[in-house]
Amino acid sequence: MYNENLFKQVSSTLAGVDYFSLRLCDEKSKKLSFRNGVLDPPSCSQDRGAMVVVHDRGGMGYAATSDLSDSGIQQAASNARTWAHRCAANAVTNFSQLEMPVQSGSYKSPVVKHSSSVTDADMLSYLSPLATHLSKGSDIVDSVIELWLVEYRQQLWTNSGSVVEQDFEFIFPSASVAASKNNDVQRRGIGIDLYGAQAGWERLDHCGFKEHVESLPEEAIELVLAPNCPSENMDILIAPDQMVLQIHESIGHPLELDRIIGDERNYAGTSFVNEEMFGSYQYGSELLNVVYDPTMSGELASFNFDDEGQLAEKQHIIKNGILQRPIGGVLSHARSSLDSQGVGVSRSCSWNRPPIDRMANLNVEPGQSQLEEMMQAIDRGLYLKTNNSWSIDDSRNKFQFGCEWGQLIENGKLTNVVKNPSYRGISANFWRNLKMVGDESTFKVMGTPYCGKGEPNQVIRVGHASPACVFEHIDVFGGRS
């Protein structure tokens, strides 16, 4: 009832404007972490606010406020309209002529056991022995284990009739341990991108977090004693937890439509892809199939509607290696020369930032090859796991990525572990070197809560799922000898 009152206040303030939306966000979070076996002070947050967006007289303006009193939201509505009017003459497009989505519905994260139903004492009892395990050993110089729980509720109303309510629950378990020997330090971890999901407490058991944490110290010590990765051109087998980063940086970002039409050129960058390439450009080998899939249960960016109310549906972005459509919402599509419709990805990180094009769930679809089969196909190569370094140019072409864990593949078999494994390439060529795609048994659903973009800056949750994949003729190298 309270929220409907906010909509009424905005409606009465903005009577007669061409279009307005009211987006109300409510987020609660809790973070529990141990460093070297000692509990850091727990931290929680409770945040609530609203954004009003107005399209009127050709202009667009927004106003965001944490003041949700009647006068506070009325003031925000008035500010948004004032900005729309003041900048109408200089607007990039005639916003009043845009056809905004009209949708109603809801969404809830698939949760079995809400984390809020677990007591703080039980959470600490779960984490504490794992923290102690991680911190043991004379070669261990640092260890961290963390649990981050988030509940996020968003409601959207528009004067065109949209009423959308979406409730999300996230869990992000992570851990890391550093071993030091012979003047070297190597870290092995469970990144926040590995097991983060829309899920409740059940996620910890389902993903095998505890067992994985228990293996980390031994792996870190094995790594610190390992030789450096050799420098040579070879085939690489990339595990899903590195594929996540590869997809994100060299498929996701270059295909975001706001980058292609120039909005991000001053900050996040442009793209080597242009509007003419859609429908014909050979992005990767014919084994490459990439989908925007907001329907994947439990993936970080699953939802039914984007933040402008557009329906979110599964779509092919790349099919059999051919580029099909960009990742862009209604506004970017209307401003582009493309005939296609948006794919429901106009999203914001919270109430205090406006929606922009975001990649959401972007997944590589499974292929036909088993893991064993992929290894056997490599005479001399490298198996790469767990990203720890990433860098790519502003057109999203020249990249260099590093991993925590490397293992040589010789005559079709895994052999020596190597440290500081890195590889570099050019997006436009790299995906065409995709030689084998793993089957369902190698397919993992992951994502990151930390994708940065936009002016003003926004960090947002995105999902990626992928099988293991083999790429041929890649330059790999290691650390400084």
């Binding site: 900048c87 703080d120 600490l124 120039g262 502003d394 057109s395 003003p456 400084r480």
Partner: protein, 440 residues
């Protein structure tokens, strides 16, 4: 907000038990943001936000809750009461923290800088009209930022600044562009016009065909904006005392094995006179400055209150992340006005981008050139270059391969606005280096 905040917090302290101490750190802003593309307005709006971080200490147990404030009495009463209840509930079940610092803050800082901003819509109109035949992209941000601290022990600090930050680029085509920034407390139209004129002149050079460069080692000039990007990466655990001790700092070999940078290099965190508040989140008054690296040798790291307690050190007035906020890199002897002559033949790098560690233990960094970079021969610009990847160790390019630093430094006011507008700043020179390693 100032009066409201301190009054509201005092009300909260009345509900505390004798064994409880409550510290509150406020972070808020009222900001206007205008985003440009192709010299037109893409998105424009206003954000009003305030977050109070409550830190409840119950004996040696403690926890934090950050709560959004509305400035509306009734709503905030409910939110704050809920936050306090959450903290008490947590403190009942957690163990005592051996690293909790119970140092009592002192003094009362009250800094309110005057508001000399031009009406933002007037600035936006001017930007659009002056660049109407160009391709300008970027963001104009303006408004007030406030930080405050209040404690049930009676200490109160307030910091409020009002400024603008215009972060923009002028594009020729594709990725060919000139990057500029203009930030301060009052908009000077002539300064903007001069910057625009300078950028247009640089665009003329970018019209020339690219000079192709192969991977290899090159003499290079890193302009202050490029050096500033390196500093941004180094701030990522580089100077944290905790990270230095647990060997997750890129400089841990300086502390533990005595590695050094060039004796020309000194890094100092200079709080005094910077754009950041003079108090940290624990209410401690920051020192005037902290020497981190002097003449190439490690001096000390940045020490938060918690790290200080853990290792028996003196805190240096930084928050728990132990990142740099107001770094100064010393100047050198090179005349920036004649830097092309000094470079002679090599690469003039205006900006770097997307830096990351490629080998953290050896402070090896990879990243890209971005925006206008030029090939220089015999002290003259020959042509622009395409973007190139570098992969080189800080121990080399700020070590044995450092030829010199410019005698003038450039001030950068951070344009970061993740969650909130930053108050960080940096003061850095340009650097001429030999054998800068390009890899792709």
């Amino acid at each position: 907000m100032k009066g409201y905040f301190f009054t509201k917090m005092k009300g909260l302290y009345q509900d505390l038990k004798a064994t409880e101490r409550l510290d509150i750190y406020l972070s808020g802003e009222v900001s206007d943001f205008c985003r440009f593309n192709k010299s037109k307005v893409r998105q424009v709006g206003n954000v009003k936000q305030a977050f109070a971080q409550l830190h409840l200490m119950s004996g040696k147990k403690h926890s934090f809750v950050t709560v959004g404030l509305s400035s509306s009495n009734d709503l905030d009463d409910v939110a704050l009461a809920s936050a306090l209840s959450t903290l008490r509930s947590l403190n009942r079940v957690i163990p005592e923290d051996p690293y909790l610092s119970l140092e009592e803050p002192f003094g009362n800082i009250d800094v309110v800088e005057p508001n000399n901003l031009t009406e933002p819509s007037d600035v936006i109109d001017s930007i659009c009209s002056e660049s109407s035949n160009l391709d300008l992209v970027g963001i104009y941000t303006s408004g007030s930022i406030f930080r405050a601290y209040s404690s049930s022990l009676g200490v109160e600090h307030w910091f409020e600044t009002t400024n603008f930050n215009f972060d923009w680029s002028l594009y020729l085509r594709g990725d060919k562009a000139v990057k500029l920034g203009y930030a301060g407390s009052s908009w000077d139209q002539q300064v903007f016009l001069d910057k625009l004129t300078g950028a247009k002149a640089q665009l003329k050079i970018l019209e020339k065909p690219d000079h192709s460069i192969s991977p290899g080692k090159y003499r290079a000039y890193l302009a202050p904006a490029a050096v500033n990007e390196v500093m941004s990466l180094l701030s990522w655990n580089g100077f944290s005392e905790r990270a230095l001790r647990n060997k997750s700092s890129c400089f841990h070999k300086m502390k533990h094995e005595g590695l050094t940078l060039s004796s020309q290099i000194s890094f100092t965190e200079k709080f005094k006179g910077s754009s950041s508040p003079l108090f940290d989140q624990t209410g401690a008054v920051r020192p005037d400055q902290v020497s981190l690296i002097a003449q190439g040798a490690h001096v000390q790291g940045l020490v938060s209150a918690r790290t200080a307690k853990e290792f028996g050190l003196k805190p240096t007035g930084v928050d728990c992340e132990e990142g740099i906020m107001a770094i100064e890199m010393n100047s050198g002897n090179l005349d920036a006005a004649h830097i092309l002559k000094e470079l002679n033949t090599g690469l003039y790098i205006s900006n770097l981008w997307y830096l990351n560690y490629s080998d953290l233990n050896n402070c090896r960094i990879t990243g890209m050139t971005r925006f206008a970079s030029f090939w220089v021969e015999n002290g003259e610009i020959v042509a622009p270059t395409g973007v190139m990847r570098f992969d080189d160790s800080c121990y080399d390019f700020f070590g044995k391969n450092l030829c010199g630093l410019t005698s003038t430094q450039e001030l950068f006011l951070s344009n970061s606005s993740y969650t909130e507008r930053s108050t960080d700043s940096s003061l850095v020179p340009g650097a001429v280096v030999d054998d800068f390693q390009l890899t792709l």
